[in-house]
Amino acid sequence: MFVHIFAYRLKCLMRDWETILWTMVFPLVLGTFFYMAFSNLYTNEIFNPINIAVINDEQYAKNKSFREALEEVSTGDERLFNLSETTIDEANELLNENLIDGYIVVEMPIKLVVNNSGINQSIVKSFIDNYIHASSAVETILSIEPEQIQKIIDDIGNRETYVSEKKSTGGEPNTILLYFYTLIAMTCFYGGFFGMREINDIQADISSVAARVNAAPVHKIKAFLFSAAASVLIQLVEVLVLISYLVFMLKLDFGSKTGFVLLTAFIGTITGFSFGAFISAVVKKSEGIKVAVIVGVTMICCFFAGMMQHEIKYIISRKAPVLSYVNPLNLLTDSFYSLYYYDTFSRYFKNIILLTVFIAVFCSGTYLMIRRRKYASI
């Protein structure tokens, strides 16, 4: 009987395009949008070398130290400048056409010519000021204590760092990952649609199909569990597809604890499914109302878990920590983040235990509502 009900339920659910759309396609699309939005943020943080020119005249040729300093910061992958050596006319032309942010004229003092002010111009100016300051210091010390020249050069080249960074975690802090983790949590809770459908199809006072199943020689709770197994499997596959997409296509980091990530996906799927079943069993209204409750609760919980603004999650944790514990989507999000960020499991297991409590509450409530085998009205 298990195989019969399970196999047919799988067929049914896989052909329920509307539910598949919302529980699988929608999160994938949303994840892609998230990625596009956040990768743009990353791009803005990448430093692009500044296009500048230096007037290649006699003075520039003579000032060997400045030329070497300029060439040093204009070579390599992490260079500061894209340097062009030009005549004054060429430099003016490049500047007028906005192909360079400024040009340097090596005279006394070194001069920077720009058309407007901005970050790039400030960086070039800062470089020139630093050079003048350092060369001036070298010249001064050289005139007083020429024997110290090597030490001064070494000091300028080797800046001592007195504070070192020591990582106590598995990953770099990354608030952007939180958005994707809330997306997975949301997907788990969209599994509530499957839970709702299972209840609709087993409660004779909700649907005719359920009445027919109730009239058949099959134990009601067993039929529900067999059918629910198919729903959970479909939902779990959908969550895993989403995680795979995030990891392999969008190259997001989930840390190295793959087994626990899968466990979290499973726990999340069960929580979402049981949540939908509970809502469907308790809310004695139309299917539209039930869907509205499932989506509404999920989105509110997503908001408090930081899906729309990650700082909300931290504000809730600081100002009203209880809220973060009674929000299963926050617990799921936090579980994924704990696996990514922390080396230890204490925070992760706390979240998982709380999620298990939620599952127990949802399942018990659902059982109490559907255990009756005769109905007051149909």
């Binding site: 047919y8 329920d16 005719s208 199943v213 007051a376």
Partner: protein, 310 residues
């Protein structure tokens, strides 16, 4: 005796949906539950199936008390719901196979039964169709196939022909009679008296949750005083004519409305000739004149004072 219901009472708050309903269904019968919408037919079926809680009464099927976990009893019952109860995501074949599989474990036997059911309801050309692609009539046939594929001894059909075209309706009714000929006992609920009259061997008329009459159609018709209904399409009938017709022998009622003169006569000698003589004698112009035997609607009308179709 296949079904025995004794003193069944079902209340919805202050509303009494079933008022001490008792009935028996014998093996091989097509037992009709006839009544207007809201008379308690579906409630009675749901109570018999142990889907609904009831306040009082007993239900026995195959001589054993019916209960939600009486799986050995349920195994021999086929139910065809009033609303079409199929999965939209499964094909015609898939739906019949799924519901049949809830009763029959053996895969080969199930396959044979499903094939038989498909042929029986005439859905051979539609086995790969999804329910949404089927017409109302075909959908009803699928609904029936899902209920009867496992060859039950007792088949309960709750208004299976609602919103069905005449051709499909005819096919469904023929099918039910065929199932009965093959040995199934049938409980058939409807508010269409013509259907019940056509296929049922015994009929119970329900009104407001109460059984107001039970018997074969002839027995039910014999319960009322009316024996014949004569309808005359005529013009220029006066009040004087009506009062004179009332005085004719064996006439129990006369009504004239919308150019239709309806005369009902009681048991005994037929009044058709008497009425025709009266019309000729008084030179009343008429179009059609015809005589009908009483219907179940007349039975219902005489007992309750209202039309069955109300």
């Amino acid at each position: 005796m296949i079904v025995r219901v004794k003193n069944l009472v079902k209340r919805y708050g202050d509303l009494v949906a079933l008022d001490h309903l008792s009935l028996t269904v014998n093996e091989g019968e097509i037992f009709g539950l006839l009544g207007p919408n809201g008379s308690g037919k579906t409630t009675a079926i749901n109570c018999i199936l142990s889907l609904l809680k009831y306040d009082k009464g007993e239900v026995e099927i195959f001589g054993r008390p019916m209960a939600p976990d009486a799986y050995d009893i349920k195994r021999d019952i086929g139910i065809v719901m009033q609303n079409v109860a199929v999965y939209n995501e499964l094909t015609v074949y898939g739906n019949i196979d799924y519901f049949c599989g809830l009763y029959i474990k053996d895969k080969n036997e199930r396959k044979r039964l499903v094939e038989e059911a498909i042929d029986f309801v005439g859905l051979r050309d539609f086995t790969k169709f999804y329910p949404k692609k089927l017409s109302g009539g075909l959908l009803r046939r699928l609904n029936i196939a899902c209920g009867i594929a496992h060859k039950p001894k007792l088949i309960i059909l709750d208004e299976p022909t609602v919103a069905v075209d005449p051709q499909s309706r005819n096919r469904i009714l023929e099918g039910i009679m065929e199932l009965n000929r093959q040995g199934a006992t049938v409980i058939y609920t409807s508010h269409y008296m013509e259907e019940v009259e056509r296929i049922c061997t015994r009929i119970m008329i329900l009104d407001k949750g109460r059984a107001i009459a039970t018997g074969t159609k002839d027995e039910l018709k014999a319960m009322i005083t009316m024996n014949e209904k004569i309808t005359v399409e005529s013009f220029g009938i006066t009040d004087e004519h009506i009062s004179e017709i009332r005085k004719l022998p064996n006439i129990i009622s006369v009504e004239y409305k919308d150019n239709l003169l309806v005369i009902k006569s009681g048991k005994g000698k037929n009044s058709f000739e008497t009425v025709l003589d009266f019309i000729r004698k008084n030179e009343i112009r008429f179009g059609k004149i015809y005589s009908e035997l009483p219907t179940l609607n007349d039975v219902f009308l005489e007992i309750t004072g209202k039309e069955l179709r109300d």
